[in-house]
Amino acid sequence: MNRTLYGNLIFELSKDGRRGYSLPINQFGDFELPAELRRGEDACLPECDELTVVRHYTNLSNNNFGVDTGFYPLGSCTMKYNPKINEEVAAMPQFQSIHPEQPAETTKGALALIECLEHALCQLTGLAHFTFKPYAGAHGELTGLMTIDNYHRSRGDVSRKKVIVPDSAHGTNPASAAVCGYEVVEVKSLADGTVDVDDLRRVVDEQGPEIAAMMMTNPNTLGLFEYRIPEIAEMIHGCGGLMYYDGANLNPMLGACRPGDMGFDVMHINLHKTFSTPHGGGGPGSGPVGVREGLQEFLPFVSPYNGNYAVMMKAYAYILSLGKEHIGMVGPLATLNANYVKESLKDVYELPIDSLCCHEFVFDGLKDKSTGVTTMDVAKRLLDYGYHAPTIYFPLLFHESLMIEPTENESKETLDGFVEVMRKIAEEAINDPDTVKTAPHDTPIGRVDDVLAAKHPVLTFKQLRDEQD
């Protein structure tokens, strides 16, 4: 990563009369869109030659940090390595050129791949069927809840309008429930970080006939396995509800435990987490939804075709590369890496729940709170040392959450290097707190003014230019 800001916008490199394209000559004769159907003014797009465009985006990329740049311990995001062979096969022209309306007999290979991937996901999760229509994790959650809603409706069970969500859940869980027309009932966590089963029992006793489903991620967002899951599932099933598994944290379960066996009925998988497809700066992902036998007829129509097909291809290439021989090692190694980092740092960072974790764990900031150095400061200082920051201020259970997920691909040297820097920052917090509080220093830009951005929104180049005039 280049530590100097490049900073240009493509519009600022534009010169009238330059062109970055070449197109065939019109051989069709004079056909022109009638004037009355035309826009009044051309869209003001940049005019650049090809090399200018290539350099511009190359320079921009140099101000970006990816998994290939360095360690990316962003909790809950499973920033694992994105194998290069996956990219190559997904770009094969005989897949890329398929129109989604093409008849099935001309797309046999593409359809066979969907079948193989479905089979693999069923094996790994213990569920019976998958739909690939959902484009992302949040889209998968919504699809899963719609499935559950369709199921209850089919039984004439229309009074079930509530979904139970633990207070440690990802923000998308309650939001997806609301978009699906559900009311959210929150249950608390115990001091050990797992769901308060007594609180849950109270909710079920009081509101059982209104409960459509319970959404859980297991291990939860603290990286802790909800060991009372069989009891929880029994309770929800007992009141007529279904169990929804948020697959965001599926990675440590490969080789260890399957959501279907835990008692879940419906789940989504983030292929861009557990199955190594790149996050792409925030998409495209893929959020296939799996269901237990008997629920497939309730899967909704949430996108026109096969979802993000090219992303699915990458996930299948990953599964093939690992095979049944190695895929079961993903969970244990991811879990080992997380526990190793946790144990190596818990004397200087506050570990609110000291137990074995799965793929990730959460510190509540520095142990020594007297320095005034916050989780935000630690995160920003990490950037100076060439690491991406962990997830910060989530989950909401602690004030100074610092959520670390190393993934199975990271070597002991990488983890040791990270541990060393985290310890160094803890020392700096005592000896040189100002350096930490004003970090980062060695990045293309310093801390940004978020308030200015929100109070006085400038969201387009046109607004920026109007501003300057």
Binding site: F28, A43, T106, C180, G282, Y340, G446
Partner: protein
């Protein structure tokens, strides 16, 4: 256990286990009840080396038939300049996450700002979000946004001019959210304004959704629509094929409050349905009602211009169940795709590609109707897609096209909806006509 994606040596494994306070990998899972531990073997293929993975995909690839594409119906076979896949494969873009840490994500934040600027230009609207999944889900989000922006209204009018698959997605979202979708029929191939007015006058309408060009390829005249909507405090939502906006009157010119659609037509490969790119643009007035990520300009503490995710108080990770949308990620890499595409094409190239597509489609239509077997279903202007009725066995002809290596449009009623892009040569079109005329 040694494997190319796992760096742990046996020695390291032991020392790490020790540090973790367990004596085996199994011990790490002590908290999982025995009864639900997975003990079996997955019924999965054996590991493949890289050569074998490549060969297996090649075998599957060979089972797909590559067809010369004359189909559209929401997904268009436009040309992808070679610069784009090259730049998209830069792993600093590809392997990064959502740009939460602005200090090391200026690359992503810059291009999203450029993307927002370009989409706002293309649609004529004030602002854009950082992108959505696809055109269909963006339309469903627009519906929810209209309902959230209104006061105690939960009815949305949707023209039957929108793609039926978009309609199905919209209906799915509406069913669960409790929104009442009323379909407005087409009259002579275009949305019936009288029916829109009639429905609006009954009250309770949050928004009216139309598509341009519509599902039959017809360029609709939306004069009077925005006024009719605004007179009843409803929002006017226009779903457009992004590439066609190079030439067509913009959603803003039609008075739209929300412009949505799919930007796949800006050079994104067909790839069996995805990933594509949904876009959403709106007015400054509705800015805080818009779902999805938004990037804004600000300053850093060194006085430099910088870009950052902003207006996050709208979003699910802050508002949880009170957010109007559950959308979390965007389709960032596809937004980069479109940004590079529009940078290369510029305003002239985009118009030129649109003109070529327009000309090719009109040439094909003319040639087909000259055969005497086809007639344009409606005497209405179209862009690069059109619906023709056929006086023979359309299914048989569709198969003949395939046998000749062509995807002869999309079968529709007693005929075909054909689409042409700048990729189709005169020879390819003449070949199609030759088969059609048999």
């Amino acid at each position: 256990m040694s494997f190319k994606y796992f760096p742990h040596t046996e020695e390291e494994l032991q020392s790490m286990l020790e540090k973790s306070g367990v004596d085996s990998l199994d011990g790490l899972y002590a908290q999982i009840p025995e009864s639900i531990r997975f003990k079996g073997e997955y019924d999965l293929p054996s590991e493949r080396c890289e050569m074998e993975v490549r060969a297996l995909f090649q075998r599957l690839a060979d089972e797909n038939q590559q067809l010369t594409c004359f189909a559209g119906f929401g997904a268009y076979d436009h040309y992808t300049p070679s610069v784009i896949p090259n730049l998209l494969s830069r792993s600093e873009f590809l392997t990064s996450y959502t740009p939460y840490q602005a200090e090391i994500s200026q690359g992503t934040l810059h291009y999203i700002f450029e993307y927002q600027s370009m989409m706002a230009e293309l649609t004529g609207m004030d602002i854009s979000n950082a992108s959505m999944y696809d055109g269909a889900t963006a339309t469903a989000e627009a519906m929810m946004m209209a309902v959230a922006a209104g006061k105690k209204v939960n009815k949305v009018l949707v023209s039957e001019g929108i793609n039926p698959k978009t309609m199905d997605v919209v209906r799915t979202y509406a069913l669960h959210k409790g929104i009442d979708v009323v379909a407005v029929p087409l009259k002579d191939g275009v949305t019936d304004l009288d029916a829109v007015r009639q429905n609006l006058s009954e009250g309770g309408v949050a928004g009216v959704i139309v598509q341009q060009p519509n599902v039959l390829g017809i360029i609709e005249d939306f004069s009077g629509f925005a006024d009719a909507c605004h007179g009843q405090k409803a929002l006017f939502v226009v779903n457009s094929v992004a590439a066609d906006l190079a030439l067509l009157k913009t959603p803003a010119e039609w008075g739209a409050d929300i412009a949505v659609g799919d930007a796949q037509s800006l050079g994104i490969p067909l790839q069996f349905g995805g990933p594509y790119l949904g876009y959403m643009c709106t007015t400054e007035k509705l800015m805080r009602k818009m779902p999805g990520r938004i990037v804004g300009m600000t300053r850093d503490n060194r006085g430099q211009r910088a870009f950052v995710l902003t207006l996050q108080a709208r979003e699910q990770h802050i508002r949880r169940q009170k957010a109007t949308s559950n959308i979390c990620s965007n389709q960032s890499l596809m937004a980069l795709f479109v940004t590079v595409y529009l940078s290369l094409m510029g305003k002239e190239g985009l118009k030129e590609a649109a003109n070529l597509s327009y000309a090719g489609a009109h040439y094909l239509c003319q040639r087909l109707t000259e055969t005497g077997r086809f007639r344009l279903a409606f005497d209405k202007p179209f862009f690069n897609e059109f619906f023709v009725r056929y006086d023979g066995d359309a299914d048989a002809l569709y198969q003949r096209f395939i046998d000749a290596g062509m995807l002869g449009g999309v079968r529709y009623e007693d005929g075909f909806i054909f689409a042409v892009t700048e990729k189709r040569t005169k020879q390819e079109i003449d070949n199609l006509v030759k088969i059609a005329a048999l």
